[in-house]
Each structure stands twice: as C-alpha cells, then as structure tokens.
C-alpha cells in the first residue's frame, strides 16, 4: 500500500493538504472547516520527557495525599482522590465508581506510563518495542482523561462544604492542580507527532516522501 508522508488529511472534513513546516507557535487550520490540522510543537522530546517525569511525581502525590481535610465540632476527616472514588462504590450508585476510577485515576496513569515508555526511545529517534499499540492506546485514551474535571470537582466540593464545616486544602489538591497542567501539556497535545519524529529509523515498507 502506498503512503504519503507529505500529505495531511483534516480529521473533521477529509480535506487533503500538503504538509508544511509550521513556524514555532504557528497553527495550521483547515481552510474548509477551520479545524486544527497540525501545530508546531512547543517542546522538544527532551522537555517532554522531563515534564512526563514531573507528572509521575505529581500523580503519586495527588493520589496518596488527601486533597481536602474537614473538621466539625472537634472531629476531623480527610480524603484522597481514590477514597472519593471508593466512597461511590457503596450503596445503589456503586457501578459508577468504575468509570470514575478510570477517568480520574487509571486513564491518566496509563497515559503517563505509556509516555514514560515511548519517550526515552523517541529521544534518540527510535521507536520503543510496542510503539504502535502504545500510540494507538494513547490516542484512544485522550477523551477519557478527566483530571481537570477532578480538580474543579474538588473546588466545588470544598466551597459546598465550607458553609457548615471547616475546610483546609491538603497537599493532594496542589499536586492535582500540577498534574492537570502537566497532562494537558504532555498528553492532550499532538502525540501523533512522535511518528514523524521517529520516522528516519523506521523499518518496514514506507514509500519515499
């Protein structure tokens, strides 16, 4: 099968363009439907890897440390993100705990693990073993990663409770905020760009571009 590395197709309307080299900060839009075609990467792989390492740390703190601590008449309580998911698992609404655990904990974790696996290889222009399935999974996971919703949820819950109990933020909330920003930078961006970055060393029947 012939492939065309010099072309790009708009995912939203199927228009075909010749792939250009965007200047730093430039974004190429589709002339027909105005969707984003591709954008210049703000990070090189080195920085991408460093931010992914930071995301590993932020993820661990966000999931171990309590996000909020409340007190009422001398009694204290605190909850980490996973305990909130566990709280859903009791009672009639229990099944919803499964997608919740996926969206705020497991999917972000998988995104980070997969990037930790593929990026060190990409740094030296190589494709990690299992690169293709890893990249397909990264693309499929993207819509289901919801740490930013989790952060807003923590804030709303805090305000909601502050009217009748004392509320204090825990270390987890700062880590969740950091994780939100890091995930947007490392996983919401154009991960497909990694294919082009590792193209030279690619084995297999690729047509010359």
């Amino acid at each position: 099968m012939k492939t065309f590395l010099n072309l790009v197709i708009c995912e939203h309307c199927d228009s075909v363009y010749r792939r250009g080299v965007p200047a730093p900060g430039e974004v190429a839009h589709c002339a027909q439907c105005a969707a984003v075609l591709y954008r210049a990467s703000r990070l090189d792989v080195e920085q991408w890897l460093a931010l992914t390492a930071a995301a590993v740390v932020a993820f661990m703190i966000a999931n171990i440390c309590p996000v909020v601590r409340i007190s009422l008449q001398g009694q204290h309580n605190e909850a980490a993100l996973w305990q909130s998911v566990a709280a859903l698992a009791h009672g009639a609404a229990a099944p919803i705990a499964v997608p919740m655990a996926l969206c705020v904990i497991l999917v972000p974790l998988m995104q980070i693990v997969l990037l930790v696996w593929v990026l060190p290889f990409a740094r030296v222009g190589r494709r990690a073993p299992g690169f293709a399935p890893a990249m397909r999974i990264l693309v499929a996971l993207r819509p289901w990663s919801m740490v930013e919703v989790g952060l807003l949820g923590i804030l709303v819950a805090t305000i909601k409770l502050s009217s009748f109990v004392e509320v204090a933020p825990g270390a987890g909330i700062w880590a969740t905020a950091a994780l939100t920003v890091l995930l947007i930078v490392i996983a919401k961006r154009d991960v497909q760009g990694l294919w082009a970055l590792t193209e030279r060393a690619a084995p297999g029947p690729m047509a010359p571009a």
């Binding site: 099968m1 012939k2 492939t3 065309f4 590395l5 790009v8 197709i9 995912e11 939203h12 309307c13 199927d14 228009s15 075909v16 363009y17 589709c30 027909q32 439907c33 105005a34 969707a35 996000v67 909020v68 009422l72 008449q73 009694q75 309580n77 605190e78 909850a79 909130s84 998911v85 709280a87 859903l88 009791h90 009672g91 009639a92 609404a93 919803i96 997608p99 919740m100 293709a132 399935p133 990249m135 397909r136 693309v139 499929a140 819509p143 919801m146 919703v149 807003l152 949820g153 923590i154 709303v156 819950a157 305000i159 909601k160 409770l161 009748f164 497909q192 294919w195 297999g204 690729m206």
Partner: protein, 209 residues
C-alpha cells in the same frame, strides 16, 4: 478561494489513529490496516449515524431518572434529606452562592441539554445530507467534543463530599441512585459524539462536485 480536494477524490484515506495518509484500496480488499500503526482504516467511522443515534437516545432516556431521582442523601444532626441535582442548584442560589449554583447548573443541565440538541441536530441534518451551515455545524461538533466531559463534575462532587463527610451521629452523606444515571448520561453522550463522524457534515455535496 478554491477549496482543497477531499480524500475520496484523490483516492486516499487517512488513518484515524496515527494520521498517516494511505492509498485507498478498501474497494479491492474490503478491509485494510494502516501500514504504520496497524489500526483498521475506514473512510468513515462504521455505522456512524446509527451508533451515534442509539447512544444519544439512551442518554436522553437516562437523563430523566438522573433528574427525578435523588443523587445524594444528606443527614445533618439526625435529620436526613434526599437531594436531586436541581434542588441542589436551587439551594445554592437561595443561599446566595450564585457562582457555584451557576457552575453546577452549567455542568449538569446546560451542557447535557446542549449536547442533546447539537447531536440531534447533527444527526438529523447528516441523515438528510443537508448542505446547510456546514462550517457552523462543524464548529458545533467540536464544541460538543470539547465541553462534553465537564458534565462528570457532579459525579465527582458527590464522590468527594461523600468521602469527606463521615461523622457518625453528627452528619453523613451518601451517594444515591440518581448519580449513577447521571454518570451514564455523560458516558453515553460522549460515546455518541465519538461515534459520530464529522466528515459526514461535508459529504452532502458529493454529487454536485
């Protein structure tokens, strides 16, 4: 301004997973995998309108119990009460917390209803192969894709509040069945948006070009 050619006219097809542009041999082979990443190639997402319609209908049906049934049981100093989503919004509004009432109203009423309307409109117009306002409809689809998952906010707030407020005799908060239905609405409408193929918006004029 002359519009760019479309993939079908050039006999190419784009890989949905890695973005590679491949020669379209689907007529001869019936089924083809992307030579770079191994994902199945499709000109359009399979059974797009039927699947998106089924998920949307299921989501709309679940939205009824999600609003009728209580999402949370609150007991404060012995007196317990069930809360629906809308009653929660009204209580915040009455208590003067307008900002938070608006946030919850947006996430749990405005966003889901907008999704129902937009997806219903897109499905109806694409079934009729309408050429009406295609650029605007393409934008609407991207809007739904972008805001869709923020509705998960309510589920998270209930989870966090339920995990925190556990004070034996003083106060207790438990998730109720309504939140399960609400979470299902969010997931079903996300599946509907993911099944819908925005390229169908632009397919109406194939015969006239």
């Amino acid at each position: 301004m002359s519009l760019p050619p479309r993939a079908r006219q050039l006999g190419v097809v784009g890989c949905h997973a890695c973005g590679l542009v491949c020669e379209d041999k689907l007529d001869e082979t019936g089924h083809a995998d992307c030579p770079r990443c191994g994902a199945a190639l499709h000109r359009r997402r399979p059974d797009s309108l039927a699947r998106a319609g089924a998920f949307l209908l299921a989501g709309m049906i679940f939205y009824i119990p999600a609003n009728m049934l209580p999402v949370m049981y609150t007991s404060l100093l012995g007196s317990g009460s069930d809360n629906t989503i809308l009653r929660g919004v009204v209580e915040f509004w009455k208590a003067g917390s307008y900002g938070i009432a608006l946030v919850i109203f947006t996430a749990s009423v405005a966003v889901p209803c907008t999704k129902f309307l937009v997806l219903g409109l897109l499905l109806a117009t694409c079934r009729r192969r309408s050429r009406w306002a295609r650029r605007e409809r393409a934008r609407l689809y991207r809007l739904v894709e972008f805001v869709g998952y923020w509705s998960m906010l309510d589920v998270l707030v209930v989870a966090i509040v339920a995990a925190l407020v556990k004070f034996q005799a003083l106060s207790d908060i438990e998730p109720r069945l309504g939140i399960l239905f609400f979470g299902m609405v969010v997931i079903l409408t996300m599946l509907s948006a993911l099944s819908f193929d925005p390229r169908l918006i632009w397919d109406g004029d194939d015969t006239n070009r």
